[in-house]
């Protein structure tokens, strides 16, 4: 298969490369661009570990072809922190609340929570849980993740 040129902005920087059309965006980010913070947990769109922001909206990067991202604006977990290393408020809240244990599902959660807050997150526990139900975690039992999101949502309002 011949490779197709791909050019997009990721975490504020232009990334130029090429990939076979069948290569998923998740694999392209990880293998071609070295952005290994986005993880693969299932490769069929259920676990949410591969969640990134595309033009400000969450997408499962395992359910996109790399070529489809051409010309778009992407943000991955590596782009959350400040250039000087200060953590994004969502990252800080996760640490404060012990909302991660093994950390494998965490990048996907962070991107989902960022979108949730952008849209104006609620502090209602049931709604938060439903919103987060698209990201699977096997370690934390979600309890502290919900606490972190509640605090972030409260802080916003």
């Amino acid at each position: 298969m011949t490779k197709i040129d791909i050019r997009f902005v990721v975490n504020g920087q232009e990334a130029v490369g090429a990939a076979e059309p069948r290569m998923t965006l998740a694999d392209y980010l990880r293998e071609e661009l070295g952005l290994t913070g986005t993880h693969l947990g299932c490769e069929h769109g259920v676990c949410g570990a591969c969640t990134i922001l595309l033009n400000g909206e969450t997408v499962r990067s395992c359910l996109m072809l790399a070529v489809q991202a051409d010309g778009q604006i992407l943000q991955t977990v590596e782009g959350l922190e400040e250039p000087d290393g200060r953590l994004h408020p969502v990252q800080e809240a996760f640490s404060r609340h012990h909302a991660l244990q093994c950390g494998f599902c965490t990048p996907g959660f962070l991107m989902s929570v960022v979108e949730f807050l952008e849209e104006g997150a609620t502090t209602d526990e049931q709604q938060i849980r439903e919103r987060l139900s698209g990201n699977l975690c096997r370690c934390t039992g979600y309890h502290n993740i919900v606490r972190a999101v509640q605090e972030l949502a409260e802080h916003q309002s």
Partner: protein
């Protein structure tokens, strides 16, 4: 779980897309949101020789709701666009009821209405919604255009009336009058999962009796199902629990649910009746301009 190899084109115009589909033939597939197709590729359960990526056709993304209740949905409109449309939700809550249960936000950000219709999974919400309202599908091909009615569209399991060289470009749904009650109810193992059973209902009440009724059932056969006999059972009757139960029971004769790891067939059959009852009950509660 990596996709098998395929040829790929990404047309910039509808004409180009139709030309490509014409050339590619039977072995090709259209790629829109990819939320259904890409998992199939990952499992290597689909092996198209050619993918025609239509996601650049921006003018297929429009959604308009006319005062007459005609909802025109461009094939590339995402589920999320429909879900978050407040005007639409006020006019017809069944749509948000249904669409908000399609997977999760990240799926709904990419997945398209056209893609869901063309994929024709009997466990998908959009085909069931298509049967719930008067729906026409605008289809284009290199040789021209045609309209397909909802009751002709879903031919069999994951099979529509579309030929491989045809592209669904728009879905037009005539929403019921503003005094109708609409609803969509699902039962799923977890929030956002494919439903074990689902039903949509539209009900109009005049002078205390049901003057019109529509019921469509999801996840209960090879295609979405219009439950005509159940609808008939409601007509002319007072919308009480007994009538609703009788109607729900009539659903039995038109469904053929399949057993899987989530439950045996008799359990799913039972669920189909339960969701029908709940959908009709909710629609009744919302009818007459009231919201429930």
């Amino acid at each position: 779980m990596k996709p098998p190899p395929f040829e790929y084109s990404r047309p910039d115009s509808l004409e180009e897309a139709l030309q490509t589909l014409h050339e590619v033939g039977d072995d090709g597939k259209v790629l829109a949101g990819g939320q259904s197709l890409i998992p199939l590729l990952a499992f290597r359960m689909a092996r198209p020789s050619h993918l025609t990526d239509i996601t650049r056709l921006e003018n297929l993304k429009r959604v308009t709701l006319g005062d007459d209740g005609l909802l025109s949905i461009g094939a590339l409109a995402t589920h999320r666009m429909l879900e978050t449309n407040e005007e639409l939700t006020a006019r017809c809550p069944a749509i948000r009821d249904a669409v908000s249960q399609i997977g999760h936000v990240a799926i709904r950000n990419r997945g398209t209405v056209g893609g869901s219709m063309a994929h024709a999974d009997p466990a998908a919400e959009w085909p069931a919604l298509a049967l719930l309202f008067d729906t026409r599908f605008q289809v284009r091909s290199k040789s021209g255009e045609r309209q397909v009615a909802a009751d002709e569209m879903f031919v069999s399991y994951m099979t529509t009336a579309l030929s491989p060289d045809e592209l669904l470009v728009e879905v037009q749904m005539q929403l019921p009058s503003t005094d109708a009650g609409t609803s969509f109810v699902e039962v799923a193992r977890r929030h956002g999962d494919f439903a074990l059973a689902g039903a949509g209902s539209v009900v109009q009440i005049e002078d205390g009796v049901i003057s019109s009724a529509r019921i469509s059932v999801m996840s209960a056969g090879l295609t979405p199902i219009r439950a005509g006999e159940a609808e008939e059972a409601l007509l002319g009757g007072e919308p009480n629990e007994d009538l609703i139960a009788t109607a729900a029971h009539r659903v039995d004769s038109v469904i053929e649910p399949m057993e899987d790891v989530h439950g045996p067939a008799d359990y799913k059959r039972h669920l189909a009746k339960v969701v029908t009852q709940r959908a009709v009950r909710t629609a009744v509660g919302r009818a007459g301009g009231g919201s429930a």
